[in-house]
Amino acid sequence: MTDATSQTGRSGAQPRKSLHVTDARTRRRNAAEARFRFYGAAAIAVSILALVILLTSVLGNGLGAFRQTFITMPVALDATVLDKSGTGDIEVMKKVTTIGYAKVIEKALATALAEKGIATDGLTAKQISGLLSQEAAANLRNQVLADPALVGQTVDVKLLANGRVDGFFKGRVTMDSAKLDSNISPEQLELALKMREAGLMSLSFNPGFLFGGDASELRPEAAGLGVAILGSAYMMLIVLVLALPIGVAASIYLEEFAPKNKWTDLIEVNISNLAAVPSIVFGILGLAIFINFMGLPQSAPIVGGLVLTLMTLPTIIIATRAALKAVPPSIRDAALGVGASKMQAITHHVLPLAMPGILTGTIIGLAQALGETAPLLLIGMVAFVREFPDAPPEGFFDPASALPVQVYNFTQRADPAFVERASGAIIVLLVFLLLMNAVAILLRRRFERRW
């Protein structure tokens, strides 16, 4: 009471202030607010700048990987070389190695050059065929073995050009650098230029980058991400199938059923700690348990998937528990009040409301797992794998690669052409992450619309 009277007394004594004049206190407060807003805006500007720089560098380096230099020409598939028995028997045809095909291609290239009237003086036959990738013969062989009826015909084929030639068209290789390069000479590059003018050589979309397997150090032009994409997809499948139900069930138990005591507190603390454990530790764990103890194969998606599941579980559990906690208790009371059992209250009312949060958590966890590299290195996913794994479930046990490991792998190689491949792989990885986030947003919308 005394307070109130003294206050009225004070305000009565003071001259009335105009609303149009701000006092020092208000000015300071407004200045602090303006400063804070400026800091916020500056922070966002910096992050956007960083993102733009990152994206331009990755896109600038990596988009080239999706386009590749091809040599397109008619190739006479000589039956006398490719199918000596003349029976079309696939087993016999398989005996012809890539060397046989290389000869066929060499001949076809010479013919094509002659037809277009391109002079090849001063270049050896080896140098001319050196414009082609070493992978070209293998690709042609696969094509023919897939369709033996082609033998004896002259077909138009698209063959990979050598990585240096490709680099030349993409600006990576110059006449000057070619002088010092044992793999390519300026004369060869001039021939390549003429071939391009004649329409024999061109840059076009390269499906092999997305769907092909990895290739050796000497054939960057043939290296693809197919095995890595498939391996990553298998692992994500395993993570999703294992981590989502286990994580959600664990969270429901901890949040809704478990008694609150020392033990559950301990479990809770440990789950939070697990989320902060460096991922490489999970790799060591996986190596010790799944490979050394359980004897699962190395480099297999099953092991990678299990390790990533362990890594993702805490993330999912924490997100799910937060989502369950956010559901107002009055909803549970309402359900119990009309005689629903605890389980019914949870499945009918709590879970649907928590679903957006659970999905977001799961997808964040999956995205983390998709980009995870360190634990996979420890369980041997870093091995060079060319062969595609089989279809699941057997395929889970076949050696495979993973996208982030493939990026790492590419960056380890000497040929600068792999820099482009690595950036290309990063783009693919980013696209997958964006897709997953888009799915998360879509699912969230769907569930939220059901209020």
């Binding site: 909803i331 629903a340 019914q344 009918h348």
Partner: protein, 265 residues
Amino acid sequence: MNDMRIADRTVSSDTAKMTARGVQVYYGENHALKDVDIDILGGTVTAFIGPSGCGKSTFLRCLNRMNDTVSIARVLGEIKLDGEDIYDKSVDPVTLRARVGMVFQKPNPFPKSIYDNVAYGPKIHGLTKSKAELDQVVETSLKKAALWNEVKDRLHAPGTGLSGGQQQRLCIARAIATSPEVLLMDEPCSALDPIATAQVEELIDELRSQFSVVIVTHSMQQAARVSQRTAFFHLGHLVEYGETGQIFTNPQDPRTESYITGRIG
């Protein structure tokens, strides 16, 4: 308090629907309810009144074992429904709650459609055999809760989109859709305007013919208007319990008198 209309006090049955003997409730160390003995009669509206924090809601929640969901709550003593101990080990609280329904202080409709809100109880208890029957139950429940006219054209709109008072009536409809034997209402009218309150009170009076109703209220006028019996709680004790007319006109305990004349609370 002269304006109170003391309704006709005919109690339709003297049989005790629920009996409580020596009920104690502890929240951890806090002794919230001390030695409560009460008989809730069938076909009667019983009002619980008392100052805030005296344990009205706590006792109400004992009657359908909603206190089970509060991990620190401990209930001692004996509560019987039709002579059967509801805290017996063999009792499934879920079946108990189907027979003893509850309307909460704060309206808490499910974030589903109006129809689904009301149909939920009958659905999980398998009370109806066909969609038509379910529709019928939903309609009669909404009608009884005096909400039908307002929502009949938007049964599939979200229940959370209704006004606070409409939501509370929706919750009442939801509770009566399972046809409980006892209906517990914790300040059902605290969010309602006078007209809706009058409608709910009318509804409570109608419900009396089918269920026992227990209503917690802070409005003494409301207690006087709707109830036949009144229990006055104070600091965890059941101070006085008797016919509403007697409690309001001739309280035996000085604390009751102080409360209803506005001196405590």
